[in-house]
Amino acid sequence: MAAANGSGKGFEVPKVEVKFTKLFINGNFVDAVSGKTFGTRDPRTGDVIANIAEGDKADIDLAVKAAREAFDNGPWPRMTGYERGRILHKFADLIDQHIEELAILDTVDAGKLFAIGKARDIPGAAHLLRYYAGAADKIHGETLKMAQRMHGYTLKEPVGVVGLIVPWNYPTTMFFFKVGPALAAGCAVVVKPAEQTPLSALFYAHLAKEAGVPDGVLNVVPGLGPTAGAAVASHMDVDKLSFTGSTEVGRLVMKAAAESNLKPVSLELGGKSPIVVFDDADLDMAVNLVNFATYTNKGEICVAGTRIYVQEGIYDAFVKKAAELAKKSVVGDPFNPRVTQGPQVDKDQYEKVLKYIDIGMREGATLVTGGKACGDKGYYIEPTIFTDVKDDMSIAQDEIFGPVMALMKFKTVEEVIQKANNTRYGLAAGIVTKNIDIANTVSRSIRAGAIWINCYFAFDPDAPFGGYKMSGFGKDMGMDGLEKYLQTKTVVTPLYNTPWL
């Protein structure tokens, strides 16, 4: 693979300007109560980009108090859905006006490809906000057909103060997966962004204020999971919690919720998603799709297609082409438009991925390409492919969250369904076939929240997303995504002298 690491060779790294480094509470940027800060690092170099106010329990308390006040007494839940929608539309327009600046922040903070950030992540956030802006006035209750002489109806009311804990792999997208529907529903929120990537979240807080989101409705508290995150999860005044992150932390979040006020929780967790390539597939298309599914965002994506099952008739040809294609990847500075893969987000992740590669080799899988770190600084790893992978190997069971593909051979539909489901995860799956019956059968048989047939990462604001099994519960996006931010209230009163029921 071509190493394009470093900078200044045929491309320009745009000026990185960090405007917001403090906590955003009740409409103001403030220091942490403790006065502490932490460094957010550039994964291209490992250097500190900026020191960020480090939120802790005391700050979460302040943020929740502000959100509580905004919800209990402020205008936001008392506006019409249309009025909230207008403000969210304005928010979306402001994002569109700052695409470049926001994309720079996500690239420097998370090592994400700058070109993709400008073309997809940031405009996609505006799109998602517009979707929920349009949904804000379409939250319908229902009138009921009661079995008694009663008039009954349901009201869908905002659930209240919502804690939102978002991960570092898609700092912008994940922020709006949660903030979009929560705000549309009329909730007040406390967002804890990941400590690796606080920069864009703070910028969004600023834009929200400019758009007219009232003070206290959106609070952003950067900090660490065990302190700030835990404080949100166990807060007695948080009415609902939505978390995206690892399955291990998801378990802690749910425990904290259970042990505090039994707040309902939705979790979008890890995955080990299979892609099943059948003999009838267009080979080149399949190879491209699988490459895309595994290596997008350096494999740091919960729905990454990391278990690749290829039918025996095309297996050998597939392996050869997949290796050739992986070798064409250009790993390097994510600001470089030629680069297809940036650095892993931080040292921990980088070391974890390399450790799994080592485990894969020790467990007896065959390393076909990649397998090593690259570049002389930062957290770059070569796109890696293993073959001869067995179902019970760690690299076929655990979420690696890096550019590592595990290739496996299968014979029959029944066999591959069984293998695909042989996991504690159930987030997504890919199917590559031209056959309608295979597509339908496998779609229904795989226990996963998203099935992409002859495509992958087909996310859309209207398409609900979330996991089966230990990949979590509750959906983000779509009208389903609103549900978790709503309470259902049933109102009943007797009817007298009604001519019909």
């Binding site: 249309y82 929608g85 207008r86 539309h89 799109h127 517009r130 979707y131 802006a133 349009g134 949904a135 804000a136 006035d137 379409k138 319908h140 008039h151 539909v413 029944e414 369904i417 309608i436 019956d437 339908n440 059968t441 229904r444 048989s445 604001p461 209207d462 009208m479 009163t493 007797p494 009817l495 007298y496 002298n497 009604t498 001519p499 019909w500």
Partner: protein
């Protein structure tokens, strides 16, 4: 201002302060009623940019080159001459719409892209609010305060509402009894023919065009010959917002020619009409005789407004007054049968008389005016004939009863008391500023009378009793019941009639059905893990 705090109805809450003041109980200048109609008309601050037909993205003359005058109802004078569409123009417009639907980008772009066009359109409407409102008032005679404060914002609201639906049109995946995978696709119905009336030209444009475009259809719109101007103007803004050519065609013209051609056109897939019940019958018949195109109709009404004995009489009088006199009484859902419980009847009549008498009639461009002229001479004469019939049939004329001023189509706010159910003024749609008050003594009686009509568009119920409100809400055979409010027309609320007031519903999620086909896609599912 207790009245305002209650926000009893939506229209007043949208109107600017000056006018709102008039709706409150503050006394109005006694001489205002007729004086304003004799002043020199105020020159509207708007230039008329578009008078031609809009076909395939271009403003063009009628094939016949004919034009017709559109008239200022304040004076009866011609505002502008407008291209007069006829059969050949409808053919051209339908061909353009057909091409745009069958081959053009509109139904093939993503819903989000359509959504963005409609959102930009809403923004443009707000940017040009002043001109649009002036045009509407000039052509229609409704007050400028109403055009600015209510109708233009409601048009923008309606467009944004349907923009938000565009990417949320869901079919169901159906659990069939058998090993089948069943999906329902909702597809645009195709070319929609839409005929709108003159009483709310802009709002009716929005109610029709909004859902049709959001669903991906193309449209041929025929406006009322009395009010062709505002639709042409906003249609040009819609193109500025990025609407592809041929997607919306606007043909000005008359019902028996252009309207009939649209109704009976074999290339039109769906028809939506708002207007009189008589014309609605013709529309339905033409659709049946041609290609059986599905039709939605929003027709006339004789809506009851029921005041129970527990009502606060002052509030009831104000709301009942508004329900019938709003928009010069030219509302299909006007609360034109005011049923008042005998225990509060006398006080109610007295206060209604006082309220009507102080209603400010005059140039709709003038600040503080509540009521402008009727739309045209024909309506003006028809209303005066009904007033005469009320007198002749023995109802008590307690206010008004004549024209106001000496030119244009102004009519005095008129109130009849002691009306009987069988009188013409209690049975037929007058479509003017005429309130007909009837006395009732009990719930069962008022339900019977309220329902004793061919119409079933709307009803008002005024009571503080929860049980009375629930009983009446369910018992009345009408499409909308407004309890302690009236004329609440948000885009999310479905609107339409029972009985001869129409077929189908506009607005809300319900209007999407009018513009969508339903396709079931079924295929066997083999070896499914579960069904």
């Amino acid at each position: 201002m207790y009245w305002l705090r209650l926000r009893l109805h939506y229209w007043t809450s949208l109107l600017p302060g000056a006018l709102l003041h008039r709706f409150s109980t503050a006394p109005a200048p006694a001489a205002a009623t007729s004086a304003a109609t004799t002043d020199e008309p105020i020159q509207p601050a708007v230039e008329i940019k578009h008078t031609q037909l809009l076909i395939n993205g271009n403003f063009v003359d009628a094939a016949s080159l004919k034009t017709f005058p559109t008239v200022d109802p304040r004076t009866g004078e011609v505002i502008a001459r407008v291209a007069e569409g006829d059969v050949e123009d409808i053919d051209r417009a339908v061909s353009a719409a057909r091409r745009a639907f069958d081959h053009g980008p509109w139904p093939r772009m993503t819903a989000y892209e359509r959504c963005r066009v409609l959102l930009r359109f809403a923004d443009l409407i707000e940017e040009h609010a002043g001109e649009i409102a002036a045009l509407e008032t000039w052509d229609n005679g409704k007050t400028l305060a109403q055009s600015v404060g209510a109708e233009v914002p409601m048009v923008a609201r309606c467009m944004r509402y349907y923009a938000g639906w565009a990417d949320k049109i869901h079919g169901l995946v159906v659990p069939a009894d058998g090993a089948h995978h069943v999906q329902v696709l909702h597809e645009p119905v195709g070319v929609a023919g839409q005929i709108i009336p003159w009483n709310f030209p802009l709002l009716m444009f929005a109610w029709k065009v909004g859902p049709a475009l959001a669903c991906g259809n193309t449209v041929v719109l025929k406006t009322a010959e009395q009010t062709p101007l505002s639709a042409l103007y906003v249609a040009s803004l819609l193109h500025e917002a990025g609407l592809p050519e041929g997607v919306l065609n606007v043909v000005s013209g008359f019902g028996p020619t252009a309207g009939a051609a649209l109704c009976s056109h074999m290339g039109v897939d769906k028809l939506a009409f708002t207007g009189s019940t008589g014309t609605g019958q013709i529309v339905l018949e033409l659709a049946a005789r041609s290609n059986l195109k599905p039709v939605t109709l929003e027709l006339g009404g004789k809506s009851p407004f029921i005041v129970m004995d527990d009502a606060d009489v002052d509030q009831a009088v104000e709301l009942a007054h508004h329900a019938v006199f709003f928009n010069q009484g030219q509302c299909c859902c006007a609360g034109s049968r005011t049923f008042v419980h005998e225990r509060v009847y006398d006080e109610f009549v007295e206060k209604s008389k006082a309220r009507a008498t102080k209603r400010v009639v005059g140039d709709p461009f003038r600040d503080g005016v509540e009521q402008g002229p009727q739309i045209d001479e024909e309506q003006f004469k028809k209303i005066l004939r009904y007033v005469q019939s009320g007198v002749d049939s023995g109802a008590t004329l307690v206010a008004g009863g004549d024209r106001a001023g000496n030119r244009g189509f102004y009519i005095q706010p008129t109130v009849f008391a002691d009306a009987k159910d069988e009188m013409k003024i209690a049975r037929e749609e007058i479509f003017g500023p005429v309130q007909t008050i009837l006395k009732f003594s009990g719930m069962e009686e008022v339900i019977r009378w309220a329902n004793a009509t061919h119409y079933g568009l709307a009803a008002g119920v005024f009571t503080s009793s929860l049980d009375a409100a629930n009983t009446l809400s369910r018992a009345l055979r009408v499409g909308t019941v407004w309890v302690n409010c009236y004329d609440v027309f948000d885009a999310g609320i479905p609107f339409g009639g029972y009985k001869m007031s129409g077929v189908g519903r506009e607005k809300g999620i319900y209007a999407l059905r009018n513009y969508l086909q339903t396709k079931a896609v079924v295929t066997p599912i083999r070896d499914a893990a579960w069904l």
